[in-house]
């Protein structure tokens, strides 16, 4: 269970947000809304431990993530704006490296079938730089199908996806939540969930969001 207590972040000397508190339990999906520059991405990166908050605490299973960096990383999957793909590696190689780095042992044929399911049939062994933005996003999202991490933190996952990919991603998210997984998501799009609880959090609604 992810718990955030009185979180505050400043960028340079500008206070992005403060006093943020929420929890995400098993089978729950949290939407993060906010206008541009409201600190959505910074909050997502703070949840993952990439950014150190200026105040407050992020806890995973009742323990601050600062104190359990490696254990927390094993149970977390973060997809940011950048896809994290190497241009010179093929889709399959990128997927295999990403999964094994995250501690998931994957055989090559499993990777091929996952990429196929993500609609990349015939493009699996092309270098990533040749693929379109949408296709690269699909390769990055393919990790969701192979990941064993209960907590997913996804920053704008729907951006650049066509209708078919959006539907596919919605199904994957719904299935993950149904299995008792947790998702934190920034998007401007509703996700139809089959089961589990949906929470919403708006950022920046107070004029400067600061104490």
């Amino acid at each position: 269970m992810l718990e955030v207590v009185n979180l505050q972040c400043t960028r340079g000397d500008r206070c992005l947000f403060s006093g943020i508190g929420f929890t995400v339990g098993e089978g729950e999906l949290l939407y993060l809304y906010g206008h541009n520059g409201s600190g959505k991405t910074t909050l997502m990166r703070t949840l993952c431990g990439l950014v150190a908050p200026t105040d407050g605490e992020v806890c995973w299973k009742d323990l601050p993530i600062r104190k359990q960096r490696d254990e927390y990383a094993a149970e977390l999957l973060y997809l940011g704006h950048k896809n994290g793909l190497k241009d010179d590696l093929t889709g399959v190689e990128n997927l295999l490296v990403a999964c094994r780095l995250a501690g998931v042992s994957v055989k090559e044929d499993k990777a091929w079938s996952v990429l196929e399911r993500m609609g990349l049939r015939g493009h699996e062994d092309l270098p990533a730089r040749v693929l379109s933005q949408g296709q690269q996003k699909r390769v990055a999202l393919a990790r969701l199908l192979l990941s064993e991490a209960p907590l997913w933190v996804l920053d704008e996952p729907f951006v650049g996806l066509d209708v078919a990919a959006v539907a596919l991603l919605e199904a994957v998210l719904a299935e993950h939540v149904a299995r008792g997984g947790m998702v934190v998501l920034t998007t401007h799009q509703e996700v139809a969930l089959t089961s589990g609880k949906v929470k919403k959090l708006r950022l920046g609604w107070k004029e400067d969001g600061c104490v």
Binding site: G12, D13, P53, D55, E57
Partner: protein
């Protein structure tokens, strides 16, 4: 209550700002008094050296500035370490405030070393182990100031500077040792800058007074500079806008 316990009452810039002013004034006063006494002793009390004549008086600023250049770097590394571990922004400001003074002290040590080397050994620059290490220390200072200057986000600048200082402070003994080894291997033991003349007690006293004067000067300048840094970083806060010095 912030997640991390800040256990110094003065760790908040607002509380430290007036204190820095007070320390600054006191140490500035001490510096002026000690400098006056030190200079008087350096020129009029200390006897002429039988070997180096009047030229040796340069020692009264060369050695204090060399000591201060090393001492300030260690103090910077100390504050940087505190800032990195306890996440107290004020200690990183202290490190940043000391950097220019440290660099100036190193430059003074190099300048006076060269001006002393010329009459004593006939060359403006002597690859003496200590002078060479001083030159490398100068590069370390310039590297720190350049790194801090090129990062916009103050938080990252503080922490990146801290890592550089801690890496630097670990390397200083290695650098000094390797330079000493290199120096003795190539030239044999040249007369090093300070062991030249035997130190009479008067000379030692004069040098110690000058060293304390330099120390007080550095504290004073650092305190005033840290106040400016606090003003620059806390310019949007309420307590700064209510300061008497800020004209409405």
């Amino acid at each position: 209550m912030s997640g991390r316990l800040s256990f110094y009452r003065f760790s908040s810039p607002a509380a430290f700002y007036p204190l820095a002013g007070a320390i600054g004034k006191v140490s500035a006063l001490i510096a002026v008094v000690l400098l006056a006494i030190g200079l008087y002793m350096s020129f009029f009390v200390a006897p002429t050296d039988y070997k180096q004549g009047e030229g040796y008086r340069i020692i009264f600023i060369h050695v204090p500035s060399a000591w201060m250049s090393m001492f300030i770097y260690l103090v910077m590394a100390f504050w940087a370490g505190i800032g990195l571990v306890f996440n107290t922004r004020l200690s990183s400001m202290m490190a940043q405030a000391l950097a220019p003074t440290g660099a100036i002290m190193t430059f003074i040590a190099l300048w006076t070393g060269a001006f002393w080397g010329k009459p004593m050994w006939g060359a403006w620059w002597v690859w003496d182990a200590r002078l060479t290490s001083e030159l490398i220390l100068f590069f370390l200072y310039i590297g720190f100031i350049a790194l801090q200057g090129s990062i916009d986000d103050t938080r990252r600048a503080d922490r990146a500077g801290a890592v550089l200082l801690l890496v630097g402070v670990v390397n200083i003994p290695i650098i000094y040792f390797s330079v000493k080894w290199w120096n003795t291997l190539h030239q044999g033991a040249t007369v090093s800058v300070t062991e030249g003349s035997s130190m009479s007690t008067i000379m030692l006293q004069a040098m110690l007074i000058m060293t304390f004067a330099f120390w007080a000067y550095s504290v004073a300048v650092a305190m005033y500079r840290v106040r400016s840094i606090i003003l620059e970083r806390e310019k949007d806060t309420r307590w700064v806008s209510e300061l008497p010095e800020v004209r409405r």
